[in-house]
Subunit: 342 residues, 2 copies
DNA sequence: CTGAAAGCGCTTACAG
DNA sequence: CTGAAAGCGCTTACAG
């Protein structure tokens, strides 16, 4: 199997293109073309090479190809979480958009940490990626500098960039936060609390939207805001609900920064015998699958996460291929899902 | 910035090790050592190289390193789903286990498809991975052959292999299915249905366990089994519950092959006014976070998914480093979580 | 501890 | 359409 030619070789033992070429009776470069640019080779030679590939079970060496061609065919995707269904949907969209091309997708989970993002980016940049898909708009100075010196095309996902030079696909997190809050105000609620977790960029922007709507309605009260660093979980939602009710007993509605928190808050209300929405209205954000099925069903903001991934990947691919995109800032919008809980 | 030497160069324009070496006034190979094997270089030279690296913002070319060293430092992980919280937990365990080493983790989502698994494996094998982490024990003939010819070490996750030569980390899916069924039988249920989705390997084995327990108790009835190909979702759980109740009205307990289905079944009962567990007992599998919080809370099987990922990656790393593992088959067990719903 | 040179397995202008 | 040769950016026995 291992046909290393000379004794002192460091060869990998795997079948090489040269062996395939020899087997097919053509030059190495012809074998290369038959595989990578089949149209540039005559049908006869192509068939011989293909047969040799099959007979020798040839597997191309991606490192050698990347080195020789200065093209990695790698696309890096950095998401802050894999346990959050929002980002797995984004990934599914990316996968589908890139499926046809021979891209290798490098998925990095930054765990909502700047340090981790820097580390992962540093490692992934070693692979000389053709493009990068990032979550969110705000990144550490170090990350911004690494990106700048690398010269690799970047598309930001989830939110909309303010500078048109920055490619972004998403929707206005702030506006969505405002819309949900206004909905609660229009329903007649006055003591509307905001429950936030993770304190990430998007939570902060949703809170800004909430704050703007409350202020405009003359309902602002800092005691109505409860924001913690912990990751969003159902358990945290249950906990935060208790804390809010303890500090603001006359609270009549709760806007959770995401559905996990809302679910926990609702389950907690059920255990305490608090009727939702009659005694307390509760709404979330993202429209996770359970939100439509729970009892009461959960009022929330539907977000186009799959499409964000799909469109961002499509945009990135266009830029990599040298196209000048028609739009550099793609707003996919959001949908208020008015259901039973608020 | 781009210091390509000769006119017709295909250089990438990035800073190279040779430039770093020149900047530091050492030979290229010394610069290489200073970076990869710092202990083999004197402190003085090491410092000069490190400074040159910093000043030039040098980023190593992973492809070149892989090609020259015949070592990719890549570990491939294939999971059937990223939207399933079980596998994202497995991934978290893998990440944590491999964090210290400089491994690049290639995550592939096979979407429960043999064809997709073959395709992904083919692409990833081009990167000459040091090791592979696979989900499940049963794979297509093509996959098994690719694995065999590649000679890359493989560890299987989730279930336990029957042949000791095959490295595996998980628990007995069949036994877990049996345990849950026996629990329901012991509680006095007689018409216990099994709801299955995806028809994947693990669902099938849980069903086997169910079948064995039912047969042993003299309760077997093929009409009590409902298995479909569709992916597991809450909506499907709601749907399957309706279908089962329509075909077997005297059904008194339902064993769902996973928690998503169980949640959907319970929500559907709530909408139909069926009391759980009084009129109908319902249990799931995997113990997703919501199961402890729902009302009623969900009886289910707790599975050590994070630890499966962690231990599997640890085992793989040991094998890659040439160690002979003490155990080739690591049983991490499971836990029956008896709660309100059954 | 340090270095000169060969080699890893591909691709790519350039000829023919 | 096909091929000889150089080169991509590293690492590694082998010497000194």
């Amino acid at each position: 199997m291992t046909k290393t030619s000379n004794g002192k070789s460091r060869a990998s033992g795997r079948v090489t293109l040269a062996e395939v070429a020899a087997h097919a009776g053509v030059a190495t470069m012809t074998a290369s073309r038959a595989i990578s640019q089949p149209d540039m080779v005559s049908a006869a030679l192509r068939a011989r090479v293909e047969q040799a590939v099959a007979e020798l079970a040839y597997v191309p060496n991606r490192a050698a190809r990347a080195l020789a061609s200065a093209h990695s065919n790698v696309i890096v995707v950095l998401v802050p979480s894999l346990s959050n269904a929002v980002f797995t949907a984004v990934l599914a969209g990316i996968q589908d958009a890139l499926d046809a091309d021979n891209y290798q997708i490098l998925i990095g989970n930054t765990r909502y940490s700047d340090a981790e993002e820097e580390k992962l980016l540093g490692i992934y940049l070693q692979s000389n990626p053709d493009g990068i898909l990032l979550s969110g708009l705000s990144h550490s100075a170090r990350v911004r500098q690494m990106l700048a010196t690398s010269q690799v095309p970047v598309v930001s996902m989830m939110d909309l960039a303010s500078e048109p030079a920055q490619l972004s696909v998403g929707f206005s997190q702030q506006q969505a936060g405002h819309t949900m809050t206004q909905y609660l105000i229009d329903k007649g609620h006055r003591r509307i609390a905001f429950l936030g977790a993770q304190r990430d960029e998007r939570t902060l922007k949703r809170a800004e939207g909430y704050r703007a709507a409350m202020a405009a309605a003359g309902l602002a009260d800092p005691r109505l805001e409860l924001m913690v660093d912990d990751p969003s979980t159902i358990a945290l939602g249950a906990d935060l609900l208790g804390r809010m009710l303890a500090s603001v007993p006359d609270c009549d509605a709760i806007f959770c920064c995401n559905d996990d928190l809302a679910h926990g808050a609702i389950y907690q209300c059920q255990r305490r015998g608090i009727a939702v929405p009659r005694q307390l209205a509760i709404c979330g954000f993202n429209d996770l699958p359970a939100s439509a099925w729970m009892n009461p069903s959960v009022t929330t903001i539907g977000t186009p996460r799959y499409r964000i991934g799909f469109e961002a990947a499509t945009l990135l691919r266009a830029v990599i291929k040298g196209d000048t995109p028609a739009a550099t800032r793609i707003d996919l919008g959001f949908t208020l899902m008015a259901r039973e809980s608020a």
